[in-house]
């Protein structure tokens, strides 16, 4: 089986002036990342994540071992043509405008002028920087630079997206958009390697993760398998009377286990996006990046197998829907949020003799 990324005994050491090995940055790393997988590479600062990425991309040479990307070398132009890479910081040409920046990268990929133009406009829309497209990126805030960094990584409609700390410097909306984008790309058959130490981001989008420390993988596997507490259960309901709560406690006690009943908290990310959505709906002015409905159209588009950017270009040609400035807080969208249990299901749970007995677990 050909993996999107495979490392075989990949090792990188750093030596002092006399050639004596001082530090193992990456130590005998064996990774296999399948195509159409969102893989998270986690670890604290200095654990070897970025060094691994740089070796994958041919920016550093391994001391030992080998890394394969789509079965070839990461610095082979044929392989590079299928990769989109966002480094840990958006290293941009300060004297170029956003549009010129994307045009430069598009030219390196040999994209025709017309395709380049379409993709640039669509990507500028997507990252919400169309209004400042002719401003030198040297004047951008960190978050805006990050958005252009992301756009340059997508200009070639890559099969493999390598993202190193993609949400650094982004506001929650930008973070959310990147996560939605990752999931959308994954649905379209792309492979994503996400390198981060922001655990919530990784947890939301990754199929599998590996946790590195001291250059070695300390744990790896599917997110669900690693995090699921098999001996615990959680039930979320709508409003309940004290009586109903008491009955639930009795049921749980009869199962000889403990039970905690609290009002669930909304996720701060969800709450924040809702507030900003409302402000944007009221057309409050801002000098920062402005998200548009086109992002939403793009990210929530159907599951057809066309190139993401083709869909992006197509959506760019449509008029925005009035009132829906941001992508709506998901209800069955890419990222699941807690939802109320239906009343009839709850009734059956509280009065087991009236129904079949199984609750709706989430």
């Amino acid at each position: 089986m050909q993996y999107a990324i495979e490392t075989i005994g990949l090792t990188k050491t750093f030596s002092d002036w006399w050639g004596r090995t001082k530090v193992y940055a990456v130590d005998d790393l064996n990774l296999q990342i399948r195509t159409n997988e969102v893989f998270g590479l986690l670890g604290p600062n200095g654990s070897g994540k970025t060094t691994t990425l740089k070796m994958l991309l041919g920016l550093l040479y391994p001391t030992q071992g080998r890394s394969l990307v789509f079965g070839g070398d990461g610095d082979d132009p044929k392989i590079n043509a299928r990769i989109g890479y966002l480094p840990e910081e958006s290293y941009l040409y300060r004297y170029l405008t956003s549009r010129e920046t994307l045009d430069f990268y598009g030219r390196i990929f040999g994209l025709a002028r017309r395709v380049r133009k379409e993709r640039i406009e669509a990507l500028l829309d997507m990252v919400g920087l169309r209004a400042v497209a002719n401003r030198p990126v040297g004047t951008f805030s960190k978050g805006m630079a990050r958005r252009i960094g992301l756009a340059q990584a997508l200009i070639n409609d890559p099969d493999l997206l390598i993202l190193d700390e993609p949400t650094t410097g982004l506001d929650p909306i930008g973070t959310r958009q990147i996560k939605d984008l990752i999931l959308t790309l994954a649905r379209r058959g792309k492979t994503v390697l996400l390198c981060s130490h922001l655990l919530a981001d990784v947890e939301d989008v990754c199929d599998r993760i590996a946790i590195m420390y001291g250059g070695k993988v300390r744990a790896a596997g599917k997110v669900a398998d690693l995090l699921q507490q098999a001996d615990r259960r959680q039930i979320t309901t709508g409003p309940l009377s004290d009586g109903a709560i008491g009955r639930i406690r009795q049921i749980v006690s009869s199962e000889e286990t403990d039970c905690e009943v609290t009002a669930p908290m909304e996720r701060l990310e969800t709450f924040f996006i809702r507030i900003v959505s409302e402000a944007q709906a009221q057309a409050q002015p801002t000098s920062g990046a402005v998200s548009t409905t086109r992002i939403g159209d793009f990210l929530t588009a159907g599951q057809d197998q066309r190139g993401v950017l083709d869909a992006l270009v197509r959506s760019a040609a449509t008029e925005p829907t009035p009132g829906s400035v941001l992508p709506t807080v998901p209800a069955g969208g890419p990222i699941e949020s807690p939802q109320p249990v239906r009343r009839d299901v709850l009734d059956r749970l509280v009065n087991p003799e009236e129904g079949s007995g199984d609750g709706n677990k989430q």
Binding site: G46, L59, L60, N80, P87, Y95, I108, F109
Partner: protein, 457 residues
């Protein structure tokens, strides 16, 4: 190729948006007209234009050389420092294409600026006389000696090695060596004797003659003119610092045979200031059909001093071979070739050195090449073992690097001398081209082999 061009066009934007490029251009655009107005030279119109062209072209060449060094090393190294290269080299571009793009981008800026500034320089030079008070004599002098591209014939150096060896042996036999050259190595004694002998061949005692002969002289216009250019040195300064002379120009073989004279022979009596270049004009019809030409100098008795024609610029016969415009263009091409070498040098240095070190290396090479003649001469004055060490180290290095002072086109333009295409081609291919390409190739190889990212743990 589209990848190379993408990097090149990005580099052009980088250089043009660097304030340093703007400053360079502004300095030149302001300075050139000011220089044209203020240049005085020797007080004549020709002198003013000579001074302007000399300083103008040198300044354009120097500032563009500096700009090239700074721009190319900055462009090649800043991407590593600011890490934009991470997002470029992870795209389908090979490393040598990236560096070639940088090289071509800076060269394009050079072409752009050099073309623009040369046009300004040329325009001012050609049109300035229209705004000056010019006499007919001045105009004639300008046309003959400045707005022209003349080819120069210099006498062949006579082989004096046998005579020198004989003189040396004589000194040894007569035990006079220590008397005249105490403690001087043989190599230096021979050099001094050779110099002395050569000057003797170019010296005329009181009442004596010197004859120079040339063959195959073919001026572009057979009805044009020949210019005999000379400079006197003397053993004893005359009271009025003037030398009286009789010159004869033409096919002097006709006088020897006594046959009928078919081509004219000109006799030119002169009185000229010593240690100053002077010239007189004779029709090109004096040339024999086979291209033979003889020029004879007679040192008049009343001078009471030997007259010597210095080896460097003592005697020359000039004739018009091309126009000023074509010559000016060749000069500009030679300046460009120099920039091409510096761009290759910058790529080489930037491929493995940091920006300040790379700039320093390029500046050292450039400045050493600009005064290479002086540097090489100074090695000649060293004695003993020290000289041997320098011969096989620094001297070798200076000789391997381009010697820019030997291919400086400004001197040609100022003197109205033809810059032959052969010199341009030789400069482009041998002196600069091959060396530049070797440096570029080494730079590309180093860049291809090195790690791009800096390792951080």
């Amino acid at each position: 190729m589209h990848r190379v061009l993408a990097v090149a066009s990005n580099t052009v934007k980088q250089v043009l948006r660097m304030r340093i490029a703007v400053v360079f251009v502004l300095v030149l655009v302001v300075l050139l007209p000011v220089m044209a107005y203020n240049a005085t030279g020797d007080g004549t119109i020709k002198g003013r234009l000579q001074t302007f062209v000399s300083y103008g072209l040198s300044l354009v060449g120097l500032l563009l050389a500096m700009l090239t060094i700074f721009a190319v090393t900055h462009s090649a190294t800043s991407e590593l420092v600011h890490r934009q290269i991470y997002t470029v080299l992870t795209k389908p571009i090979r490393r040598h294409e990236f560096l070639l793009g940088k090289f071509l981008g800076v060269l394009f800026v050079d072409v752009l600026l050099l073309a623009g500034l040369s046009a300004v320089l040329y325009g001012i030079t050609v049109y300035a006389p229209r705004f000056m008070e010019v006499t007919d004599e001045d105009r004639m002098q300008l046309q003959n000696e400045f707005f022209t591209a003349r080819k120069g014939l210099v006498p062949k150096e006579v082989d004096v090695s046998e005579e020198v060896e004989r003189d040396y042996q004589k000194l040894v036999t007569n035990r006079e060596l220590d008397q005249f050259f105490e403690g001087v190595p043989k190599r230096v004694v021979i050099a001094r004797l050779t110099q002395q002998k050569r000057l003797e061949k170019r010296a005329a005692a009181v009442g004596e003659d010197i004859i120079w002969e040339f063959s195959d002289v073919r001026p572009a216009d057979p009805n044009g003119s020949l210019f005999v250019r000379f400079k006197y040195d003397v053993s004893v300064n005359p009271a009025d610092l003037q030398v009286y002379s009789q010159w004869m120009v033409g096919d002097l073989r006709q006088l020897k045979t006594g046959a009928q004279v078919t081509t004219p022979i000109y006799r030119v009596p002169r009185k000229d200031l010593i240690r100053a270049s002077r010239e007189f004009e004779v029709p090109a019809q004096v040339l024999a059909r086979d291209g033979y030409l003889a020029v004879a100098f007679h040192n008049e008795v009343l001078n009471d001093t030997a007259v010597i024609f210095p080896i460097e610029d003592g005697f020359e016969v000039l004739y018009k071979a091309d126009g000023f415009t074509a010559n000016f263009m060749r000069a500009v091409i030679m300046v460009f070739v120099r920039l091409l070498f510096l761009a290759a040098m910058g790529i080489f240095a930037g491929s493995f050195l940091s920006f300040p070190v790379a700039v320093m290396l390029c500046l050292v090479v450039f400045l050493t090449g600009t005064v290479s003649g002086f540097v090489l001469d100074s090695f000649g004055y060293m004695g003993g073992h020290l000289s041997l060490i320098y011969d096989y180290s620094l001297k070798l290095l200076v000789q391997v690097l381009p010697q820019f002072d030997k291919i400086n086109p400004t001197g040609f333009l100022v003197a109205g001398r033809l810059i032959p295409w052969s010199l341009v081609a030789w400069t482009a291919v041998v002196l600069i081209g091959i060396k530049a390409m070797i440096l570029l190739a080494i730079g590309l190889w180093i860049f291809r082999s090195r790690e791009i990212a800096r390792t951080t743990v």
